[in-house]
Every structure is written in structure tokens, then in C-alpha cells.
């Protein structure tokens, strides 16, 4: 019995370790935190940002496994939705940038000066797709 418990503990610890390491590695490649620090000029706070990510991930795990109920007013969700959305949007942008999409595209179609318009196409497409999905698509 003890062996079984130890084994399960070990496996849980091992999978948690690899998932956590993978998440942080992914976040590092996309360069979201450096970008936010650069925009806000808060390079010195980097350790706090690291902890924010770690605590956030643990809070997510807790919420997922324990199903707590907080009973807070619903308008808090606007703030949570906005921040969560900004994070996913930055991740998407970081991924696009890591894949070198824009430089190649702009070069190919001679649009060096109007690259903002292309970015706006993708941004608006994402907003439209997301709203369309939640308001209409998922209820069909």
C-alpha cells in the first residue's frame, strides 16, 4: 500500500514537474513577460512577475481540481475576461512573431509600409471569430 501511494505521489510529481517546466519554457520562447516589462519599464520587478505566473498556475490547478465557489459579484468577470484575453492575445501575437509570418508576407506582396493593416486584419479577425463563437456558434 505504501509503495502504491509513493508510486502515485512520484508519478504525480513527475508529470506536474514536466508540465510546469514545459509551460514556463513556452512562455519564455514567446517573450510575453519581457515585452510587458519593456512597455511598462518595470524590469526590476521581474521576480514578482515570475511569482505571479507560478501562483496563477497553481490557482488554476486549485480551481480545476477543487471546484471552489466564491460567490462574488458577476462584474468581476469583465476584468478577468479582459486580462485573460490580453494574455491569450499576446501569446497568439508572440507565436505569430516566432513563426516569422509578417516579415515574409510583407516582403512577398510589397507591403513594407502597410504592415499595420495586415496586423489589424489578424487582430480584427480574432476579435470577430471569438465574439461570433461565443454569441452564436456554440449554441447551434
Amino acid at each position: 500500500m505504501t509503495i502504491k501511494i509513493l508510486m502515485v505521489l512520484f508519478l504525480g510529481f513527475a508529470s506536474g514537474l514536466s508540465v510546469g517546466a514545459g509551460y514556463v519554457a513556452f512562455l519564455t520562447v514567446l517573450g510575453i513577460i519581457p515585452r510587458l516589462m519593456q512597455l511598462s519599464k518595470t524590469m526590476k520587478m521581474i521576480h514578482h512577475y515570475e511569482w505571479a505566473v507560478v501562483i496563477g498556475a497553481l490557482a488554476g490547478v486549485l480551481a480545476d481540481l477543487r471546484d471552489p465557489i466564491l460567490g462574488l459579484p458577476a462584474f468581476l468577470l469583465i476584468f478577468l475576461g479582459l486580462t485573460g484575453g490580453v494574455f491569450v492575445g499576446m501569446m497568439a501575437a508572440g507565436l505569430t512573431e516566432a513563426l516569422n509570418v509578417f516579415p515574409i508576407l510583407a516582403k512577398r506582396i510589397h507591403l513594407d509600409g502597410k504592415i499595420v493593416i495586415l496586423i489589424m486584419a489578424i487582430v480584427l479577425g480574432k476579435i470577430f471569430g471569438s465574439i461570433f463563437q461565443w454569441v452564436y456558434f456554440v449554441h447551434q
Partner: protein
């Protein structure tokens, strides 16, 4: 006395990295390089024709500094040429500026628009975003809601905001002087292209001795 003599006989050239020129012009040294030379020969060197553009050149020509030195010594003879900086100039021949055609542009715009919309919907479906959002709604408010629109709409707007924030186009005026990641990416891509053409368009940069 001798040192003064040497100094007076030295020409310093620094090749520019890139030169844009229209197809009917000749390439003169003043355009392709920065020059420091004794007053007596400066005018002559500045207007030295170093390349005649032809149809066969295509739109990228590499001028090697060796070619320039050869022409200067042929022209002036007894001068010492010192080179500083990049060993070649990339000459980009600009033919008539062709703007992107409007229908083509609109097509690509819509392609990006719909493509990213669809990709995002697939992503949401893939990671079961709907059930997660409903769960978050229940955690916060204690109620069940099939349509937590309050959360979903603000999430959608935040999504676009995050992308804009990443590429730093919120304010036309820059937040700070640092280039945005996209500008750095464009620059790196251009540098890679430049390195490629420097090696491949310049016949002198590679030599096969044993050609069997």
C-alpha cells in the same frame, strides 16, 4: 616628411551597406561609399564610375571593395587605399515603384481576417474554452450560466488588445524609443536576405578550385 607624404597619398573608403538606385543611372563611387581623400583627387574619385547597370544585372548587384580598389588604382596609380567597414555594397535597382494592386490586397486582407478568425475558433474548441469559461463563471458567482457573455465578450476584446499591445501599435506615438519586436524581426529577416545575396550574387565570394 615621409609620413606626411604617406598621409597625403592615402584614400579611405567605407562601403555603404545598401544603395537604392534607379535602373537608368550609373553607379558612382560617391553613392556606393563614404570617402576621405586628399583634396586634389577627391572630386575625381567621388565621380568615378564603378559599375554600369545592364539588363542582365537583375535588381541586385554586389559591388566588392576589391573591384573598387582596382578601379581607383587604375585611375590614380600611386595611392594607398584603406578600407574600413563592410567589404561590399548591396545595390538594389529600383524599377518603377509598383504598388500592391487593390483587389489582391483586399483578398489577402480577407484571407488573414477569416484565417485568424477560424484558427482562433478551432483553438477554443481544441482546449475546451467553453467549459472552462462556464466553470470560472460558476466559481466566481456561484451560479450556473450556459452563456457567460459578460466573461466571453470582455475576453474577446482583451484578445485583440493583447495582440496590439504586443506589437506596440496602441499609440501612434511610441511608448519608448525601443523598436517593437516586429521591427526587430523585419530587420533580422532583411539581414538574413542581405547575407544570402552577398554570398550568392558576388561571383568572387566563392571559388571552386577543384571543379571535378
Amino acid at each position: 616628411m615621409w609620413e606626411v607624404n604617406v598621409l597625403e597619398k592615402t584614400i579611405y573608403i567605407r562601403m555603404r551597406h545598401r544603395l537604392h538606385i534607379s535602373s537608368d543611372e550609373n553607379v558612382i563611387l560617391k553613392d556606393a561609399a563614404q570617402i576621405i581623400a586628399p583634396e586634389s583627387v577627391l572630386k575625381k574619385i567621388e565621380n568615378l564610375k564603378i559599375h554600369q547597370l545592364t539588363e542582365a544585372d537583375g535588381n541586385i548587384v554586389i559591388i566588392d571593395v576589391m573591384k573598387v580598389i582596382k578601379q581607383i588604382t587604375e585611375e590614380l596609380g600611386d595611392f594607398e587605399v584603406q578600407t574600413i567597414g563592410p567589404p561590399q555594397t548591396i545595390i538594389e535597382v529600383v524599377t518603377k515603384k509598383k504598388g500592391a494592386s487593390m483587389p489582391f490586397f483586399l483578398l489577402i486582407w480577407f484571407l488573414l481576417f477569416f484565417g485568424s478568425a477560424m484558427t482562433l475558433m478551432n483553438f477554443h474548441d481544441d482546449v475546451s474554452m467553453k467549459s472552462v469559461q462556464e466553470k470560472i463563471y460558476t466559481i466566481i458567482t456561484g451560479e450556473k450560466d450556459e452563456k457567460p457573455l459578460l466573461f466571453q465578450i470582455s475576453y474577446s476584446i482583451g484578445l485583440g488588445l493583447g495582440m496590439i499591445l504586443f506589437f506596440n501599435h496602441v499609440f501612434k506615438k511610441r511608448i519608448n524609443d525601443e523598436p517593437s519586436p516586429l521591427e526587430v524581426e523585419m530587420f533580422n529577416y532583411q539581414m538574413d536576405l542581405d547575407n544570402y545575396v552577398i554570398l550568392h550574387e558576388n561571383k568572387e565570394s566563392m571559388k571552386h578550385v577543384h571543379d571535378d
